[in-house]
């Protein structure tokens, strides 16, 4: 499931944010990929829609890397 979540967010980062696929790995920070807090909010909103979950603001604010976002989403999905 973790892989599925990662592949989905990676896909969004490529298609919606125009980041090259080879630059993205699970330990990339949003900042390294040239993405800011608004990009993170947008990506997580799309992921919420896809997986039908809600990520609390307090959790979202702590997402600095793709891994943190993926694990946060994974946690919400499994609940």
């Amino acid at each position: 499931m973790l892989d599925e979540v990662f592949e989905k967010i990676k896909d969004l980062i490529i298609t919606k944010k125009g980041v090259e696929a080879e630059k993205i790995n699970i330990d990339s920070s949003f900042e390294e990929l040239g993405l800011d807090s608004l990009d993170a909010v947008e990506l997580v909103a799309d992921m919420e829609e896809i997986f039908d979950v809600n990520i609390p603001n307090a959790d979202l604010q702590n997402f600095k890397t793709i891994r943190q976002a993926v694990e946060g989403l994974q946690k919400a999905i499994s609940q």
Partner: protein, 407 residues
Amino acid sequence: MPGRRVVVTGTGVISAIGHNTDQFWNSIVNCISGIGPYEAVDSSLVRFQNGAEVKNYNPSSYFETKELDLMDRFAQFAMIAAKEAVKQSGMDCAYDQGTRTAVICGTSIGGVVSQEKTYMDLYRDNKSRVHPLSIPRTMPNSAASNISMHFGITGPVYTISTACASSNHAIGNAYWLIRNGICDRALAGGSETPFTYTFLKSWEAIRVVAQDTCRPFSKNRQGMILGEGGGMLALETLESAQQRGASILAEIAGFGMSSDASHITKPDQQGAERAIRLALQDGNIPPEEVDYINAHGTGTLINDSMEIGAIKNVFGQHAQEISVSSTKSMHGHILGGTSAVEAVATVMATLNDILPPTANYQEPDPECDLDIVPNASRPKKIRYALSNSFAFGGLNAVIAFKKWEGS
């Protein structure tokens, strides 16, 4: 200071913590917050349930049916505040056929309550026509226009929309118009009514609204709380106020504005600093005589630490002597109207030598380590007070008020 001196001779306000200046100031002095569950929208459909709504508001006790037909809730609030400010001031807005009076109102979003109704009629209820006055109710200049018509004001009348700095830009513009002789008096302020389903969902999406309440400068702050209301200042030249024997509440001593040109939502400290410095320079204000700052203080993690950093950089060692509070902790964030309501709080603070508190404060934050007047108002001699606004879009506006000492 170049040009003519400009004074405040009236204030008006309607908000979650009072329907007039007396009620509003009494709530502030007693640190009473108006934040609680909102009722205008079904809160089970939104991720946050609290706001600072104007409760027990009956429009028909303020307006005739015909007037209400023309005015969205946001215009009603601006008009109520304007009427109070004019009544207190005693100024004759229509003097010289009103050509020498200005009305400048701030709003971020205008008549969204009416706009929402048209959407509901069309998209939800499949009606084929909407209310014939939907356009004049919705247009953001409707508050300024209705005020101008009510008082017969025929001078400069316009609306400024710079998100959460709108009303400070409005007050600052009015101050400069009077100072520079373009007009002699003005009603300046603003209003906002953000409690609609589409607008609350939009704020939900951008992730800056707190779940519980607004705790500016507190380490455990979670974000802002939306509020609604309006505020207005009656401004005129010192000469005009003295000639007619008006009570002077405060003097406007400086105005500064800047743009971050950086990020659409993330504030840039340098932009905030420049606006504060420009307000001080504009009025030749000695920084060491600034005793109080009504902060932008939204209660978001980023804004509050940025703002304290800016104050420290501008004032250096003197920052330790300045009291900084956020009245948004009580009346909520009224967006385009917020700095008008905060201007009323700041005028009352300088008039009464009382520091408005920061309500809901729980936990010290090392990044916000100035005197933030936690949870209780207290007396302090205030010579100059600033009112800060730092808006989405990176637009900053700061007004400096000076205590009126009788000369």
